[in-house]
């Protein structure tokens, strides 16, 4: 019973929450809030139970055939549960934040309904056991995110949402073509059955390589690889919790996670290396990292700068995948979590500045450290983590990427990492300088663009607490990386499964 119960129940939690929220009237704020939080906590509990079970050697899977030779498979393996854990944990914080952020704004029923649907699809992506199931939830994610990006309904928001839909739907089409081609060639490949493709003869290799790049092109849109990243900086018009969701929890991560699945669980790292695919990935990722960092440097508004930073940072995951060897894999998997923790903190902070003080541009941040010390502290934590300063989690990712690069025989990657760190420092340190060292309205220089007093502390507690929690997590996950069940430790466990027979 429990083997099939847990994956279905986890998925059903968010789906049911979405359905009930759509049925509830707009004014039922308390019921909706309670339902949202209850579902989030319940889901964390279910995922935690599966983590515990998995580490004791239990298996969780459910499947039923859809067509002849094609099955719908939900399965919790170590990699999937890692992503599920990330999304359910960050979902809780994002939900709390969103409740505070959208207080007294219209259309909250629609927002939270699609919000739950979005997370349900992310969970489906993480628990999917083959490409077919993956694709279903991947497309569902695209569709459920559209109303969130368009939420404000302004012409700018609608244009950004349309652009988002164009990018992701066409990418979904490309992905489906690749998947069908692979299915015709090899049948239904469950994630983890790496031997199927590895047994193909040399005459099929050209086709396999072509299919690989088609699939990467499909995933690359959501993973925002250059030059397919154009939608992400535009989607900045969405409300802050949606940005957090796009950048840290769901959408961009789904693309990166797809690439991870494709390389490790469909093609297999060794076979990909033998086909010469990994070096290509590492090159694409390096270009993305450097290009996006340069573009971030040129932004004058806070959220676009963070958006380009995401484009750059998510490619660290792809870079790690491209580095053949256990260390590169650890880097890729752990950065999937680390980037989520840091980026969500940064977006929460950006949202707090916008809500409390009306700040959107970087030069308006002067002296905000005095007015909002906790938010600025959390922002500093996130920014220093992005630069890769220990003891924050970003340092660990960089460490494993660098050592993994040497292990994979590509020491030039270290130069990319160093340049990227310098660029990160160049676009984050000036912000920190403005926050803490420049005199601002609270020192008697100028005024805030639009100051509101949302709460007893520096801003509303709904906005403050999730941000502090994620900042604390990014410090603790770095400082105590050697503890069991830390992101790094879990990533190491998954990498060992991949490389040790």
């Amino acid at each position: 019973m429990s083997a099939s119960f847990f994956p279905v129940a986890t998925l059903a939690t968010s789906l049911a929450a979405a359905a009930i929220i759509f049925l509830l009237p707009e004014g039922a704020v308390r019921a909706r809030t309670g339902l949202n939080l209850g579902a989030a906590v319940l889901k964390i509990g279910l995922v935690a139970w599966m983590v515990r079970g998995l580490s004791q050697g239990q298996a969780y899977a459910v499947e039923f055939p859809v067509l002849e030779g094609l099955a719908f498979v939900l399965r919790a393996d170590a990699l999937g549960i890692m992503f599920a854990g990330l999304s359910s944990l960050l979902w809780l914080f994002t939900t709390i934040y969103a409740i505070g952020y959208l207080e007294d704004s219209p259309n909250r029923r629609r927002f939270f309904g699609f919000f739950s649907l979005c997370v349900a699809s992310t969970l489906g992506i993480s628990l999917a056991g083959n490409l077919f199931t993956f694709l279903i939830f991947y497309e569902l994610l695209t569709l459920s995110t559209y109303p969130l990006v368009a939420h404000r309904g302004t012409p700018k928001a609608l244009a950004a949402a349309t652009l988002y839909l164009r990018f992701t739907l066409t990418a979904g089409l490309v992905l489906m073509i690749g998947m069908v081609a692979l299915h015709t060639l090899a049948g239904d490949i469950r994630f983890g059955q790496r031997e199927i493709l590895a047994e193909f003869g040399p005459e099929q290799r050209g086709v396999l390589i072509a299919i690989f790049w088609v699939l990467i092109a499909g995933f690359g849109v959501k993973a925002a690889l250059v030059p397919l990243h154009g939608w992400l900086p535009r989607a900045m018009v969405a409300p802050a919790p949606v940005s957090a969701l796009l950048h840290a929890v769901a959408v961009v991560k789904a693309g990166a996670f797809g690439i991870v699945r494709l390389v490790y669980d469909v093609y297999g790292a060794e076979f990909s290396q033998a086909l010469g695919l990994l070096t290509g990935l590492a090159v694409i990722a390096s270009v993305t990292i450097l290009y996006a960092s340069l573009r971030a440097l040129a932004q004058v508004e806070l959220k676009p700068r963070l958006a380009f930073s995401t484009v750059s940072q998510v490619s660290y995951v792809v870079l790690g995948v491209g580095l053949f060897g256990p260390l590169g894999t650890i880097a890729a998997l752990s950065h999937l979590l680390h980037q989520g923790l840091m980026k969500i903190t940064l977006f929460f902070c950006a949202g707090n500045y916008a809500e409390e003080l009306g700040i959107h541009r970087i030069d308006e941040l002067d002296g905000a450290g005095r007015r909002m010390p906790l938010t600025s502290l959390a922002f500093s934590v996130g920014a220093l983590g992005m630069i890769g300063v220990p003891p924050l989690v970003g340092f660990l990712s960089k460490w494993y990427l660098g050592t993994g690069a040497v292990q994979a025989g590509m020491p030039w990657v270290i130069a990319v990492l160093v340049v990227s760190s310098l660029l990160n420092a160049a676009y984050f340190l000036p912000i920190l300088y403005r926050l803490w060292f420049c005199p601002g309205p609270d020192h008697g220089v100028g005024t805030w663009p639009e100051e509101r007093h949302l709460g007893r502390f520096e801003t509303s507690s709904w906005l403050l607490l999730p941000m502090l929690a994620t900042a604390l997590f990014s410090v603790m996950a770095g400082l105590l990386a050697g503890m069991p069940f830390s992101p790094l430790e879990w990533a190491t466990r998954v990498a060992n499964l991949e490389y040790l027979p």
Partner: protein, 605 residues
């Protein structure tokens, strides 16, 4: 039992400064607004005390924390003990000094000046934070902790440098930060490359493995230059003379005394010094270090004597002294067999220079606010540490003998001569410092005198005593520097004598004969200014190209948008055709039907 004592002392040494960091914001939040309060109280000044206790009382040992980062290992052994002791002592006395130095700021803050209160509060937070980074990097044996300490120290010290918030302070801070970030990048590259090739997590494994690693010398090069930013290698020293004069005096003292030593500690911790098996390429690296060190030692002396601000002169003197240290470390690479004898001399040099340079910097503040002492006593007291740095007496004499003896034994007498000549430069720099200070002191004496028991003179005098008597109390820490034999004294004293003989006529010439030359003195930070203006010119030159790129991209996007629009227009034209069909299909069908009927009619006929 001793292991427990060790662990408790170690953790206390690292956590106590952090606890004091957290205390300040709590105090700000808890204390009533408007109540008078001095953030730099006695408790605040105790931040380095546990570290000092660890150095003096703690047994040798190591503490492993598997949950910490990538696995933490914190170690105390003999060289670390000396470094820890002198750093903690310098931080302790400089902190006490700061209580007097910033008293004016306190008065302004209590009088209701918000900016002063903010600055004071920030100083109270960043001082112990920088300290904790400095202490951690000294005891760290695992690479991650070491890098953590280094980074915390570097970034937190930025806030100390720009304390006053003036335009010059911001320029100095900017130079400091840009170069520091550049150095961090190089260090990160070197550490990642090395640790990746060797699979090393601790500095000991790293150092041993690097000796025979492939591309080891390139990794060594990155680390040399990366740590060299902190240790003022010639060419990378630009931030020192810019940041030191603008920082508050106690911060300059710890910056120049303790923090720049982190660069040397980094070299000693990562480079395969004294490894006989090291690749031949390391000898080349060692030669480069040696050469760059000597260039720094002489060049900084030349640039330093042209400076007007005593702290700028002292900063150049630090570059010069660090150049000598770098030359000694480089010798350890060139002649690995010599390193066991040279290593204690390097540690002694670091401790001696740290404390003495600390006294000299604190002395600048003393010259600006003279204590209640006769002028000649004050002059004598200010001269003593200068003579020590020149190698005439006290710790300077012991240090000089220590490395001279080691180098002579190894047959490197040429290097000894070069270092002695560099000591002539040191003497000139010291003479210049004293001259600059004396100019200021005469003015300050008219403004009023400070009681001798006030924090500033007290800390200064205590630090001077501990610096001069360093060879006497070092045995407590397990290190016994040999006193120089009487026969060698002449050989140790001639550079200082020569320096004094050169300084007197040189000073006279510059003051009375070569005034025009004196006006064209190089500014502090020498190469920084041409570099900065060159870069900004380059930026101005590339800007049109970037704009052209942006235009090209816009044209590309416009082309696609145009394509889409014409595609949509074609679809709409199709729609128009359909509309026409919809309207006229019936007629068309009629025409067809009639046509068919006619065809049938005529074909039948």
């Amino acid at each position: 039992m001793s292991q427990v004592t060790f662990a408790v002392l170690m953790i206390a040494a690292l956590l106590w400064p952090l606890a004091l960091v957290l205390r300040e914001p709590l105090m700000v939040a808890l204390v009533e607004h408007g109540e008078t309060r001095f953030p730099l109280d006695t408790l605040w000044a105790t931040a380095p005390l546990p570290a000092l206790a660890l150095a003096l009382l703690g047994p040798d040992g190591s503490l492993s924390l598997s949950a910490w980062l990538l696995g933490g290992v914190w170690v105390l052994d003999d060289p670390r003990r000396v470094l820890l002791a002198f750093s903690a002592l310098l931080w302790l006395l400089s902190g006490w000094y700061a209580r007097g130095y910033l008293a004016g700021e306190r008065d302004r803050a209590n009088a209701g000046n918000g900016a002063s209160a903010t600055r004071l509060s920030r100083f109270a937070v960043l001082w112990p934070l920088t300290l904790s980074g400095n202490l951690l990097l000294l005891v760290a044996e695992d690479i991650a902790s070491f890098y953590l300490g280094f980074a915390v120290m570097t970034f937190a010290a930025f806030g100390l440098v720009i304390h006053s918030g003036t335009r010059v302070a911001l320029t100095g801070g900017r130079a400091y930060l840009i170069m520091a970030v550049f150095g961090e990048g190089l260090i990160l590259g070197g550490l990642l490359w090395g640790a990746g090739s060797l699979g090393a997590l601790t500095l000991g494994e790293f150092r041993e493995g690097l000796a025979t690693a492939p591309h080891g010398a390139w990794i060594g090069l990155l680390l040399w230059l990366g740590f060299g930013v902190k240790a003022g290698v010639a060419g990378l020293h630009l931030w020192l003379p810019l940041a030191h004069p603008v920082a508050p005096t106690p911060a300059s003292a710890v910056l120049s005394g303790a923090m720049v030593k982190a660069g040397v500690v980094g070299w000693v911790a990562t480079l395969p010094l004294g490894e006989a098996s090291a690749e031949a390429a390391f000898i080349g690296l060692g030669r480069a270090m040696l050469l760059a060190g000597l260039v720094g030692a002489f060049g900084a002396a030349l640039l330093g004597v042209c400076q007007r601000h005593p702290k700028a002169v002292l900063a150049y003197s630090s570059v010069s002294q660090l150049g000598m240290l770098a030359a000694l470390v480089g010798t350890g690479l060139v002649a690995p067999g010599l390193w066991p004898a040279l290593a204690p001399a390097v540690v002694l040099f670091a401790a001696h220079h740290g404390l003495t340079k600390g006294v000299l910097f604190l002395g600048v503040g003393i010259g600006e606010h003279p204590p209640r002492l006769p002028a000649w006593v004050l002059a004598l007291l200010l001269t003593l540490p200068a003579l020590s740095l020149a190698g005439v007496l006290g710790s300077g004499l012991a240090t000089k003998w220590a490395f001279k003896a080691a180098l002579y034994e190894g047959g490197h007498s040429a290097l000894v001569t070069w270092l002695s000549l560099a000591a002539v430069g040191t003497t000139l720099l010291m003479a210049r410092t004293l001259w600059c200070q004396w100019q200021g002191e005469r003015q300050a004496r008219r403004d009023g005198l400070v009681p001798l028991g006030a924090p500033m003179p007290l800390a200064w005098l205590l630090l001077m005593v501990s610096a001069l008597t360093l060879p006497l109390w070092l045995p407590v820490l397990g290190m016994r520097p040999e006193p120089p034999p009487a026969a060698e004294l002449a050989g140790l004293w001639w550079p200082a004598l020569l320096g004094v003989l050169l300084a007197l006529p040189g000073g006279w010439l510059i003051r009375y004969r070569l005034r025009r030359l004196a006006k064209r003195r190089p500014p502090p930070g020498d190469l920084w200014w041409p570099l900065a203006s060159g870069l900004s010119r380059l930026w101005v030159a590339t800007w049109p190209w970037l704009e052209r790129l942006a235009v090209m991209k816009a044209a590309w996007v416009a082309w696609w948008v145009g394509l889409e629009r014409s595609g949509t227009a074609a679809l709409q034209a199709l729609g128009g055709g359909e509309r026409w069909l919809r309207r006229h299909t019936a007629v068309l069908m009629m025409v067809v039907a009639v046509g068919l009927a006619l065809v049938l009619l005529f074909s039948a006929a």
